[in-house]
């Protein structure tokens, strides 16, 4: 197999290039893309990428794998490989810092803009706030987001307006709190979303749904927010 990796080291490279590595895959088992990267890095330590949990829950190693955004630690080589080639590039739509490492600050800023924390202006009870199993179920498919940015960086609307359109990940978080029966700031949250960009730049392309390594559905969450805005506004 040939692995091609996007390389760019500021101060060393004047412009980005693709570097090619030969890699012999084992016969007896499938590897994850991250395992291949770790092997290559043991030989060429200069390859830069982020990684931590290596089990698809920390969200560090989002990258473009043969043109598709995904987590390296959760993408089997057999699924990604095409004509014996594996092409690894940084997530699109964010500035590259080095090699496969992108500057995620814009992504985090959009996350922070939705006030990603519970707001409840009622007095705190001595114990926990009660929540029915039905109400808790509404958070499934929302709270599991790992902030890997695979969805947001696959979204054309985010590419065009990364500073104004919140992007699927932030909007999923926004709906996670709108949907929480314990949150009392629905009106306030909605009023912050009623501009032509934050939510309404979503065109329903659904790249986000395709890209999400946790099988979440940000488009659905965005539609729910729109429905809430319509209900709230009429």
């Amino acid at each position: 197999m040939q692995v091609s990796i996007y390389r760019y080291i500021p101060g060393k490279d004047t412009e980005p290039r693709m570097q090619h590595y030969d890699y012999v895959l084992p016969d007896d088992r499938d590897l994850m893309v991250l395992e291949v990267l770790e092997d290559l890095k043991a030989k060429d330590p200069s390859i830069g990428y982020r990684r931590s949990c290596r089990e698809g829950v920390c969200g560090s190693d989002g990258m473009s794998i043969n043109g598709r955004n995904g987590l390296a630690c959760k993408t089997p080589v057999s699924e990604a490989i095409s004509r014996d080639k594996l092409m690894l590039r940084p997530l699109p739509g964010l500035p590259v810092i080095r090699d496969l490492i992108v500057d995620m600050s814009q992504f985090y800023r959009q996350y922070e803009r939705v006030d990603p924390f519970l707001k409840n202006d009622t007095a705190k009870p001595a114990q926990e706030r009660l929540q029915s199993q039905e109400d808790r179920k509404k958070l499934d498919g929302l709270y599991e987001c790992i902030l890997c940015a695979c969805c947001t960086t696959s979204c054309p609307s985010f590419w065009w307006n990364p500073d104004k359109f919140l992007g699927p990940a932030a909007l999923l978080q926004s709906y996670r709190f709108l949907a929480d029966s314990r949150d009392t700031a629905t009106e306030e949250r909605l009023s912050k979303l009623d501009d032509p960009f934050s939510v309404f730049r979503c065109r329903g392309v659904m790249n986000c749904v395709n890209a999400c390594p946790k099988d979440l559905n940000p488009t659905k969450a965005i539609n729910e927010i729109r429905t809430l805005l319509v209900k709230n506004g009429t």
């Binding site: 080291i9 500021p10 101060g11 060393k12 499938d30 890095k41 043991a42 330590p45 200069s46 830069g48 990428y49 982020r50 990684r51 931590s52 949990c53 290596r54 089990e55 698809g56 829950v57 920390c58 969200g59 560090s60 959760k74 810092i97 080095r98 090699d99 490492i101 995620m104 985090y108 922070e112 006030d115 990603p116 924390f117 519970l118 409840n120 705190k124 001595a126 114990q127 926990e128 706030r129 009660l130 929540q131 029915s132 199993q133 808790r136 958070l139 709270y143 599991e144 790992i146 902030l147 709190f177 929480d180 314990r182 949150d183």
Partner: protein
Amino acid sequence: MKNLRTLEFDGLIVGGGGAGLRAGLQLAESGYKTAVLSKVFPTRSHTVSAQGGITCAIASEDPDDDWRWHMYDTVKGSDYIGDQDAIEYMCSVGPQVVYELEHMGLPFSRTESGRIYQRPFGGQSKDFGRGGQASRTCAAEDRTGHALLHTLYQANVKANTTFLSEWFAVDLVTNQDGTVVGVVAIFVETGEIVFVKSKVTLLATGGAGRIYDSTTNALTNTGDGVAMALRAGVPVQDIEMWQFHPTGIHGMGILVTEGSRGEGGYLVNCDGERFMERYAPTAKDLASRDVVSRSMVIEVDEGRGCGPNKDHVYLKLDHLGTEVLNSRLSGIMELCKTYALVDPAVDPIPVVPTCHYMMGGIATQVSGQALSQDEQTNDVPVQGLYAVGEVACVSVHGANRLGGNSLLDLVVFGRAAGLHIQDVLSQGVSQRSASDSDLEAALSRISRWENSQSGENPADLRAELQALMGSSYSVFRTEEKMRDAISKLEDLRTRIESAFLEDKSEVFNTARVEAMELDNLLEVAEATAIAAEGRRESRGAHARVDFENRDDENWLCHSLYFAEDRSLRKRAVNFAPSIVEPFEPTKREY
């Protein structure tokens, strides 16, 4: 240092996992100038991987539940070298801290009455071991760590905490009075070296499971805090105590929560026998982790392992039905399908005991204040230094941690340290200064790697170290292998000290970070090796073939390892809880 940029804070927290974020939240809310410095963006920290839950007597599943029962279980689980003042504090304050998390928005699973869902976990009992299995572990499905870490990060966003994300702490800076005055750190994105000065430094750097080749730990769990402490002359306590989780996916090291057995799963050998019934007739598969792991190794050693190489056992979950699996263990379903290529609803999961948790660490008071020891074996506080979470050894886990107690440890003591530091700062601590020579020690480690011209590849040395620890310090330990490993580690030290950092670029140089992490792994490995060899008994997770029994006469105590003279000393265990009567050591059976 003329060219060294300096940042100044009232409180500096190194590590952005559960403990660091909980402490950070407390300090940020107090208004003191606080920073959380982390080598990864906080939600990438290893707390995110915790699955099963947070154990705490909130009396949801059982209205009669009592934190004293939780305390009893924890003391017994620790094989009686957990400090009872700390365990009492954790178990009694726990409910309040868990409610705080819920108020912050943690999406706990719920019971029918709308309270927090609790599941049974290993080593839990009612009525001081007399009332059968308890269900005390509060859960958000099987993603409790993820839910907890994100909730805490969100609370910190709300509190406007200052984060130094993707900053790597190289070493503590200790001045001439022995006071810790901050850290030297690298801002990884630019490679800039910065002196982060602080009145108080709190280590919350997590564990070091990566000293082993087979571990459930993240690639980033390299014991940076332990190593920094050791290099600064601060001893570490009970570092020989490493927990091997019974159910790591065979060949992958990925964790399958104990909650899967709590929900009714069990282990079988190649004959399909539910073998835990033989080893722990009462608690069976929910005996504490050290007991289950040892039983599994014995099964395999006696030829009853599963698979073509008979080197693992099976965890059976298929009888639970897809509904329970999908609603309570959906994360496990995903992990098993992805990494073990097994659908737990149909087939059993191949599992082996896998390094999971470091019970040892920096000895601290309940307040998080780091401790050393003087010649007369009195505790001496290390000025300016605190530690919480896995890097600390307060010690609530003793020789064996109970499942679900780590998340509780993080938030209870993260909060306690935050409160205490707030208190200390309010009394007006002044910033101590550091001289150039104080900084020199930390900088010399950077310059050694920077100036390396040739030598071995750090990645190869790391693999060798991990394999050595895996073969010599796993579930069962023998004198011969340990002695051999200690000398091999000495050799590794020489080689690591002359290893070669090939990539010397400035911007986001992960090779440099990994090289320094290798230094840290070595420190932790050596401490483990010497402490394990020194503790001549079997207790909790430390099982020696040559000293099969617990020796309360000589070893009902903490071990304390000092790196500068590689010596092992003893430290008394606290048997003085303030509310309840102390629990005296008895034979530990499940």
